[in-house]
Amino acid sequence: MARSVADVQGGLSSRLAARAQAAAADARLRDALAALLRGAFLAAVLLLLYGPLAILVVFAFNDSIIIALPFRGFTLRWFGEALGNPLVRESLRNSLGVAAAITPVSLVLGTLAAFGVTRFRFRARGAVAGLVAAPLVVPWLLIGVGALLFFNRLHVPLSLRTVGAMHVVSTFPLVAAIVSARLVRFDPALEEAGLDLGASPWEVLRLVVFPQLAPALAAAAIFAFSWSFNNFEISFFTAGFELTFPIWVFSTLRHAQNLPVVNAISTLVSAVQVLAVYAAWRIVRGRPGARRAAQVPEAIPELIQR
């Protein structure tokens, strides 16, 4: 049977087309599988990070002194017990107080350090920058132990003040890093423009530089505050007989079983922390310099590499 060239060609091209379609379908399948894998991976990561906390929250409402399944009924009594516990209240008060006190100090010292190191070129600059960065690299345990021995040597009694002092030392370097990262990217022409338009150097700082720094400072403040609130290792060694919240949790859990009271207060604290950071994030995002603030997490490793 005679077949025309066109027929043969038609058959060939349709076979090729079919093969191309199959390949495309293969590729789509591969893409879909890859996407599925990615989704599963991300879900697993999120589960690892937040799962335990979620379960902790669930058991805060469980009407049973033992933290195990089965779930026995909904109750709020652990919250009542937690908030009624004088040690809990004291430790929370102390932690909040210290955090609130050290944040402004840390901001000031960190900003001064950032300006000093980024704006002037002098021989000892590298050494000073290294010194400022050093507390970030030394493990907190060692800072805590050293501080304990140091205060003892100087006959300074351990108290919330010594805790605060060490918190300042540990947080202002990262404030400095965050502010430096922002300063270094600052367009010098902006300051020159300010001078050119008749503003004195002080006015330029106030009207041109600081508004630009505001998002970085806000981020740094949030960081310093939550670092101080959460810190355990250094506080543990320098608090003497005072209680901070992490110290209370540690002491309670050290030699005891898991307690629903701990679940309850942990739930409250975590809820506040998450909300606070989220709220701060939203506020910072709303301002003109928000894009820069979002770059802060990337700026940190960059800065440390310097």
Binding site: D187, A189, L190, E192, A193, G194, L195, D196, L197, G198, A199, S200, P201, E203, L207, V208, P211, Q212, P288, G289
Partner: protein, 382 residues
């Protein structure tokens, strides 16, 4: 030192602006060094009231440094800067009566357009140099001058490049400086917008009547907009004068090559003054004029601009023609470009002919390049 010193002398001579009134700005023997490098080398010039003055040159020639010295951001190592006759060298930028439009515009990102423009006036208001309600009026006028009133409440990041540039201009103008300094303000704009803005800037300058000092590396821009141009190279002013003069009668080979394109033929000076002539390949070629640095018998360059040359078949009258062989022909729209070489000694000669009159010559063809003798110009050779 010879020619260079002459060049410098010449620029000082040309430094007296037209108009005869007291110059607004006088720069006297200003020098600035950065480590080993001399960025600005004994530069002197003065600027008249209402003059559009350009500093033109390649990257690194010192034009931006000179501008920054005028603004007060750099302190000269030697020399003085006088504004309105008073020594401004020791004044910091915020006390000088100059304002700058930056290459990157430098608009304050956290302020609206209105607040940006009001910044300078508000500083003055603080120092009691301005009355209260004045600031708003000044801001409105400045924005109207650059036609940006509608954008007063926008933020810089919401504006296009051209718009930002106009706001930067308004911000500087709002301070009524004695002289406005512009640092390659059109560099970041695309061609069409650049050309539009060139006209806008010129219009605004005439309207406002303030002297402009304009830094650029774009010679077309400088020629279009300026009353006078200072061509700088390696920290020195090689030629200072009105655009036509800088174009047709450049003081040095560098200026000739930098402004427009030029054929520069190595030759010897065969005559000076009204008998200016060059000797090339045994031929004596007439020249219309010569630069001050030329000496009889010395090595020189004969400058012939491509658009002043014509290609003809027959030998022209002696003294204004050279035999050439065509190497290449390129159609460029309004013109046709011929790449040729002089027969014999071989230097290349570029001829630019209007497309409507371009001869039908192609690679390999022989012809004569000819020109009007007054168009030929002699330059000293380094």
């Amino acid at each position: 030192m010879g020619r260079r010193a002459e060049g410098t002398t010449r620029s000082v001579e040309g430094a007296a602006p037209a108009g005869g009134l007291e110059p607004v700005v006088e720069v006297v023997e200003v020098t600035k060094r950065f480590g080993e490098v001399v960025a600005v080398d004994r530069v002197s010039f003065s600027i008249a009231q209402g003059e559009f003055f350009s500093l033109l040159g390649p990257s690194g020639c010192g034009k931006t440094t000179t501008l920054r010295i005028l603004a007060g951001f750099e302190r000269p190592d030697a020399g003085r800067v006088l504004i309105d006759g008073r020594d401004a060298s020791v004044l910091p930028p915020h006390r000088r009566d100059t304002n700058m439009v930056f290459q990157s515009y430098a608009l304050f990102p956290h302020m609206t357009v209105r607040e940006n423009v009001a910044f300078g006036p508000r500083r003055k208001e603080r120092r009691r140099l301005l009355a209260r309600g004045e600031v708003d009026r000044i801001v409105r006028e400045a924005l109207a001058t650059v036609r940006m009133e509608a954008f007063a409440d926008r933020y810089p990041r919401e504006l296009s490049g051209g718009q930002q540039q106009r706001v930067a201009l308004a911000r500087a103008l709002a301070n009524r400086p004695r002289v406005l300094l512009l640092d390659e303000p059109l560099g970041a704009l695309d061609l069409k917008l650049r050309q539009e803005m060139q006209f806008e800037l010129k219009r605004i300058q005439r309207e406002v009547g303030i002297s402009f000092v304009y830094v650029t590396h774009d010679q077309g821009e400088a020629l279009t907009m300026s009353d006078r141009v200072a061509v700088m190279n390696a920290g020195r002013i090689e030629h200072l004068g009105p655009p036509e003069e800088v174009y047709e009668r450049p003081a040095t080979a560098f200026v000739a090559g930098f402004i427009g394109s030029a054929n520069l033929l190595p030759c010897r000076v065969a005559g000076l003054g009204s008998e200016a002539a060059a000797e090339l390949d045994g031929r004596r070629l007439r020249a219309g004029a010569h630069a001050p640095g030329c000496r009889a018998g010395a090595d020189a360059l004969l400058m012939l601009r491509p658009e002043h040359l014509r290609l003809v078949a027959e030998e022209p009258s002696p003294g204004c023609g050279l035999p050439v062989r065509v190497l290449d022909r390129t159609f460029q729209g309004p013109e046709v470009r011929f790449q040729t070489a002089v027969e014999g000694s071989g230097p290349e000669l570029v001829v630019l002919a209007p497309a409507v009159e371009a001869p039908a010559l192609g690679p390999g063809d022989r012809a004569w390049a000819t020109w009007r003798p007054e168009r030929a110009y002699l330059l000293p050779r380094d």
